[in-house]
């Protein structure tokens, strides 16, 4: 859809060959490297359990809360090593994660939710107020529902609240985890449109983890495919969307014009197992 950004400038974020181990034993990421250019939208694609969320959490250092550890590799942001910085320090530097499943503060109102995003800011109530209004211009629906308890708003509104909450921190970069999860296709489109707008108008860089490959490739500039904790393919969005393997594995389009059907695909007999 859009041309890949030129890599003349140094990337904003460089993840170099990281390994992540949970609970000291479970190796989840087996050497992941990726780069995110300033002002880009980069998609991290892959199936369930491929390691997308873990990759994002190792950047935002939310792994601590899940007993995960980066055992190898480096993460650089704006040319500085950021491993080991707390989430609080990272937010101050401009990296905010929007977690999978929205994760709004249920018992707070929509506006209170948004205001929690400004926790780390020290630039005064006036400019925070101003940003709140800015968030409301991007998400007019949130302004209508500002006094509603977030737990009782719809899934789409919660996703908007989560995204707006992240914006309140004035981030340079948002790590957006599965924004499409559990939302109607039309809403997914709406959310992605806003991501694009934020990217263009507010110069927010996005690293986006998605299972909805089709949608993600339409809106991003560059993509990485993760499988079993490894990057197996990368390329600009257009070339990925045109790749035959990706079409077949992730977009459900078979080679040639023929539609995939059960009869045409090979059947594998299920191995006998002792239990069911």
């Amino acid at each position: 859809m859009e041309a890949a950004l030129t890599d003349s400038a140094a990337p904003l974020l460089i993840v170099n060959n990281i390994e992540v181990v949970y609970d000291h034993v479970i190796l989840v990421l087996k050497g992941v490297s990726l780069e995110v250019p300033e002002g880009g939208i980069v998609a991290l694609l892959g199936a369930n359990g491929a390691g997308k969320t873990t990759t994002l959490k190792s950047i935002s250092n939310l792994l601590v809360a899940e007993r995960g550890d980066i055992t190898k590799g480096t993460i650089d942001y704006q040319g500085q090593r950021i491993q080991g910085l707390s989430a609080n320090q990272l937010v101050k530097r401009g990296i905010v994660q929007v977690m999978e499943g929205r994760r709004c503060f249920e018992h707070l109102t929509v506006e209170e939710n948004l205001m929690t995003g400004a926790f780390t800011r020290r630039d005064g109530a006036a400019s925070i107020r101003q940003d709140l209004e800015l968030v409301y211009t991007y998400f007019p629906r949130l302004k209508v529902r500002r006094t509603s308890t977030a737990g009782y708003t719809s899934g789409g509104e919660q996703q908007m609240t989560a995204l707006g909450r992240a914006l309140m921190a004035r981030p340079k970069m948002i790590l957006l985890d599965e924004p499409s999860m559990g939302l109607a296709p039309q809403l997914v489109e709406e959310i992605f449109e806003i991501v694009k707008k934020l990217n263009e108008a507010e110069q927010v860089t996005f690293l986006l983890a998605e299972q909805n490959t089709n949608m993600a490739l339409r809106y991003s500039h560059y993509g990485y495919i993760l499988e079993n904790g490894r990057i197996v393919m990368e390329g600009d969005a257009a070339s990925l969307a045109g790749n035959d393997d990706i079409k077949e594995f992730y977009l459900g389009i078979a080679q040639g014009d023929q539609k995939a059907n059960f009869r045409a695909t090979k059947h594998y007999r299920r191995r006998k197992r002792w239990l069911g």
Binding site: M99, T120, Y152
Partner: protein, 301 residues
């Protein structure tokens, strides 16, 4: 006023006012439970620690307010140490592990308090006399302890302060955010360590106030840590995560206990006061396990 009614009112009011004292202890539990989902077994020990420290400072002849300030400072330092040493390494562990850690903390604090100070019974005089309220006595012939009234006033002020602190402003919002979803709170840059330290310090303040009031009533000694047991039925009744619940729960338990003692006592035997609260709690658990004001679990379909 008929004699019967006056007697009933006297019992009721005495019950409500003693209930306030239970609420005060329950409040400490609620604060920590709200912010971290942990039932702080050590709350009773914190009451003992605060009361003993305060009493000993007063015995040294230190000015009342200055002694209160130092004790409060010590409670804040204690909160920070607890966060560093106990909570931080246990982050992301199951709640039950934190609970067990607070059991350990309970014994440690009991030992520390009695090791640093001593195990004697110390009198604690807050300068509030435990005498009947004369003007009410003259007008209605109802006996109300002035000390109880003062305790209720102090408790009320403390609750208003805490409720305001939780409801308003940047820190209050962050506290509630952490209470709702601590990982999401982390993701927007709210430092959990700071919030926990604040909450434990607030629980320390509550422990100090509760310890001082109970201390004057019972004398400061080991057994003061057992008032925490009386807070349990209050919590079950009011809900573990509601400040309002702790207050209402305390009032109900206090009043029910005294009324039962006076009116049921002659029928089924005395000493009801000691166990009646637990009976109410048990009945309540069957009907409404989240308590009167327990936070509703928001479930969208």
């Amino acid at each position: 006023m008929p004699e019967e009614l006056a007697w009933f009112l006297e019992v009721l009011i005495a019950g409500l006012l003693s209930g306030v004292m239970y609420s005060l202890v329950a409040l400490g539990f609620v604060l920590i439970f709200k912010a971290s989902g942990v039932f702080n077994f050590a709350q009773g020990a914190m009451v003992l620690f605060a009361a003993l420290t305060f009493a000993r400072f007063l015995e040294m002849g230190i000015n009342f307010w200055f002694a209160a300030a130092i004790t409060l400072f010590i409670m804040v330092v204690l909160a920070v140490i607890i966060e560093r040493v106990m909570l931080r390494p246990l982050v992301a562990q199951p709640v039950i592990i934190l609970f067990m850690a607070t059991i350990g903390l309970n014994y440690f604090l009991e030992g520390l308090a009695q090791g640093v100070w001593d195990t004697q019974v110390h009198a604690l005089d807050l300068g509030i006399e435990d005498v009947p309220w004369q003007s009410v006595m003259d007008a209605t012939n109802i006996l109300i302890s002035l000390f109880d009234v003062w305790a209720a006033v102090i408790c009320g002020a403390l609750v208003v302060m805490l409720a305001y602190f939780f409801q308003k402003g940047r820190i209050g919002r962050a506290l509630r955010a952490v209470a709702d979803d601590n990982q999401a709170a982390m993701s927007v840059g709210i430092p959990l360590q700071l919030i926990w330290a604040i909450v434990w310090a607030a629980a320390g303040l509550v422990a100090l106030v509760a310890g001082a009031l109970w201390g004057q009533r019972l004398g400061v000694q080991f057994s003061i840590s057992l008032v925490a047991l009386k807070a349990l039925p209050v919590l079950i009744l009011g809900g573990f995560n509601s400040i309002a619940g702790a207050i209402i729960g305390g009032l109900i338990i206090g009043a029910a206990e005294k009324l039962a003692e006076v009116y049921l006592g002659p029928i089924i035997g005395g000493g009801i006061e000691a166990w009646f609260a637990y009976l109410i709690a048990m009945l309540f658990l069957m009907v409404r396990p989240q308590g009167l004001f327990g936070e509703k679990i928001i479930e969208r379909v």
